[in-house]
Subunit: 441 residues, 3 copies
Amino acid sequence: MSIQTTTMRSDGQQDRSFVRTFFTSPAAVEGETDSAKMLRRAVQLRGMRAPDVWVPDNEDATAPSMRDDGIENIVDIVAEHGESFPGEIHPRIVWHRDRPDTRYQGLQQMLYIADPERGAIEYIDGFVVPEVGDIDDWKKADECLTIIETEYGLDEGRLSMSVIVESGQAELALADLRDEIGKPTNNLERLSLLVDGEVDYTKDMRAITPTGELPAWPELRHNTSRSASANGLIAIDGPYDDIRDIDGYHERMTTNQAKGLLGIWALTPEQVIEANTAPLPPKTGSWLLDVNGHTVELYMEDDVHIYDGERLALEKTETDRYRFRVGSEEQAVCDDELHEELLNLTDYVPSLTDIVDSMETFEEATEAGKGAIAMEQSTTLSIDGVEVSISEERMWDEATYQAAQTPISLFQDVYENRPDQREELREMYGEHVLKRAMNVG
Amino acid sequence: MSIQTTTMRSDGQQDRSFVRTFFTSPAAVEGETDSAKMLRRAVQLRGMRAPDVWVPDNEDATAPSMRDDGIENIVDIVAEHGESFPGEIHPRIVWHRDRPDTRYQGLQQMLYIADPERGAIEYIDGFVVPEVGDIDDWKKADECLTIIETEYGLDEGRLSMSVIVESGQAELALADLRDEIGKPTNNLERLSLLVDGEVDYTKDMRAITPTGELPAWPELRHNTSRSASANGLIAIDGPYDDIRDIDGYHERMTTNQAKGLLGIWALTPEQVIEANTAPLPPKTGSWLLDVNGHTVELYMEDDVHIYDGERLALEKTETDRYRFRVGSEEQAVCDDELHEELLNLTDYVPSLTDIVDSMETFEEATEAGKGAIAMEQSTTLSIDGVEVSISEERMWDEATYQAAQTPISLFQDVYENRPDQREELREMYGEHVLKRAMNVG
Amino acid sequence: MSIQTTTMRSDGQQDRSFVRTFFTSPAAVEGETDSAKMLRRAVQLRGMRAPDVWVPDNEDATAPSMRDDGIENIVDIVAEHGESFPGEIHPRIVWHRDRPDTRYQGLQQMLYIADPERGAIEYIDGFVVPEVGDIDDWKKADECLTIIETEYGLDEGRLSMSVIVESGQAELALADLRDEIGKPTNNLERLSLLVDGEVDYTKDMRAITPTGELPAWPELRHNTSRSASANGLIAIDGPYDDIRDIDGYHERMTTNQAKGLLGIWALTPEQVIEANTAPLPPKTGSWLLDVNGHTVELYMEDDVHIYDGERLALEKTETDRYRFRVGSEEQAVCDDELHEELLNLTDYVPSLTDIVDSMETFEEATEAGKGAIAMEQSTTLSIDGVEVSISEERMWDEATYQAAQTPISLFQDVYENRPDQREELREMYGEHVLKRAMNVG
């Protein structure tokens, strides 16, 4: 659908603030009677199976010999099904910072797709431009979009532009963007997604790993997220190649989220589901136990969180005395020391309900004129059958409150903009907390 | 006190080159009969309990409704006690890159505090400006200070400006600074401290962690340190939230120091003491043993450094033959191999005396016309009762010498600029090495 | 030799695209009858013992009092032996961003060395400039080279310029380079190598580590590699101090390569050999097994890859049932689960032959009109005597193909530009695969 939402404004605000999934589908598949079958399948996805941003891909996913078919497929499928697709639609065309002929092909592809007579453009939110170079190359792509808007009588800025950052040059451009956006001779305000493309980036950086695996490129991901933050854009991590490894994909998202990179490329329907759900707060809270760098989640039985691994051992020797082993180090401790040790070893992962509770509590405190309050978290742990209650206080001030708000804002954004996912959210969390979550913050 | 020391000059030099502690105190506490009690307590700190930079905080630490009281408290307390305070005084006022009204409030707060008739300004070194944006926003804050200096007849540049880097925009500004500082239409040479603010930065970057903990943001800290280096400024890490976890605070400082980020925010008197002492070289040297990533400090008895953990096992089987186990890998080794293995596993942490010794030795060698000399480090280790002597040579050249000088320069800076800490330094290190440390380098 | 190869062009291409080794030799040694003995030794190196870039070093490696001798030695030795030296020759002169007198000395040293009457310049490819500051300081050095070229009637751009990045300022300049290179008032297109200098960088950043070891500076290395990528230059990591620790040196190169930093400083002949060979693909492939972060290479016997450590245990309990222990976690698994688990634990490091095979296969598929094909990797593992066959498919598309090409391009570059190493390459890999490797890609 086209809700013209990702066009950012120079005040760092955009209507749709979060994109979890960037799902590419080959625009044409070779050797098939229906070369558009991947597009046809994708456009009919709904709910958690449908991405926030869908990218009919006429670049890398489509063989060079099939790209003319690809363009036609995109136009046909989007014209037919675009209206009812629940996410945004951003086709990827060809482009290359070093090749004027490829750039001109890109312009022609966009002119073809955007022609109002073909009936697709009204459902298209913008275009994805791969292989961009430095900021002046971004301006060339922006100019192509301005030409298209003028040619077809669209409002200036109507088409958003997303770029794939897959070269050292483009990474450097991320830092130049804020100085260039808003200049009178460009329309870079149309920028929407900054997408990392680690495969080609690895090639451009000439990196080598022994096994051929992609490097993790933490600095690139940081710089992309930072530029998104500084320019009111949305950062998306590149594809995760090992499509069977959903655990690895999930872990990658966890490290991404800690960088403020909340969206990720999806290559398969399984990855779409995972990418849609992973950034949402969990339904139930959980306790983690970290022993020498190994983290395990405790399992719960009758409100008690139980650890039954080998890395800890606990025995009550007498009143207020315990023998406590962590890894290979054993010590005798009293109640208070045990409590302290366990606090250090454990961490709590709050649920949606927990976050909403804390935020509501803080909001009430603020209304009552308080700037900071203590929030308590407590539970009963069981180790080798010995039960221990632990509790911890954390100070909440305005800054804590606002940081806690990110997952809630994301949740609200999803609820608002993806009506097709509401039913699943309701099933996952229950009606009650869902309503509270929509009203907090 | 105001010693006008942190105003940096464009040659990358400033009088006071090191700041270990950045200690914030709420400018007003709500619901107290003495709303200035935190200021009153802080201004009377001395010695290792007093920070290098003290920040009466009228922003986040003070509830919005108390900020008028805060401004008055700052003026009163600083006017009364500022002269005898041993560190620098940099009040934090309100500011926000996105809110002109907040910026105007910040200007008014500074005008109030700096009014010479109120008697505080002569003890104030500068102001801390939070929530700055890109470099043009920094210039707005700089302009406010220029206005204040002109209005009150202070020398241009008399008031230093420190910024809290707590947005992607401000992080990008760190890289622009060197191009802008020294331009005729600004007075950015007044910049003093670059302070990371990870709580708000996390919010601005929209980062999420499962437990709500702050991400470590290594790139931000690198970029702050690099900008300090390139512009002759001082880099300070943000607050460490878990105020009971002094070990964690210490570890954070160790990783910071390896980035050239030698100062840190302190929230409590305990953190001030830790932040003041941690960057100083240790009184006695120590040997570390690293087995598969687990580092332990050996303990000393009669000049022998003893390891009595489980991770190593050593047995002498015959003359020049040992059975040696590291973790789960056991091998038979001869004297030389054992020596080599142990050298790889051990590291020496030099004391102040060691550093001074090495520097003096190198200085003598240089005077004798030598460019590089070998320094030997040797000791006796004891593992499972088997004693082994190890020794290692390290080449020292001019570059090694200069790198070793950083902790000594910091030490000298503290001794020079903090007379109130001299007694404690004397007690810690002894008069003899202290004198030598002041003369070396 | 002077093949004028490293002068980069603004299209990001240069003739010689890879430099593995940057080997410095003191230009003069004090207290020796032959003060040029280190130069004399180095210039006669051949084959894997000779570096890609040789740096007669008249800066840090030579005592200040010996630098006049150093300049004469460089001229003498290069004039006599330069023609037959198989790598490039880039002398390092003195320079400092903060000291005009040092810069003027640098100009004089270069004028002396480059004087055609002295007979050295025709074998010299360019100069290495240490201690550069921001980009305007790089332009000063560039201007010195322009003066020298004009003075001696050399073509503009004939002398390449390499810089040592050893200050925060210079690191920032890496990001400015692309905007400045190609401007009409400079000749920065002469830039060749970007070399990190971590010892002085550590000093400039004022970093402290407890043991005095150098920090790893991952961000600096990333930024250097990125600037090389964005400007068509070559990135070189700084010296590895612990010259006896060849394993550590090798590990450093592995992490560097994953950053696209393919060259490294060498201080000793052993380091030269290691730095020349480590970036080349291995002769034989190998399987790695990673258990809880500990990676071991399996050894091969009769085409079976054998693990005989303690971290895994495998026992066949009945048809299609196994007891399988990983670390301390044991589970019962069927054939398929075992296969899956082992796939997750293992990684394959391809040989030169493997890479050439895959690339040839992909090239054939492309000619047949296919855009992506599956490559299978399979082997038999043996754990506790139980043999298990595993196989894994990996999709190859154009991007995979191009990323795989980096080690092959490096190989081809070495073969083309270092005829003195061909014999060793032939011995290492055999004539057959070597020929195929030269034709692929």
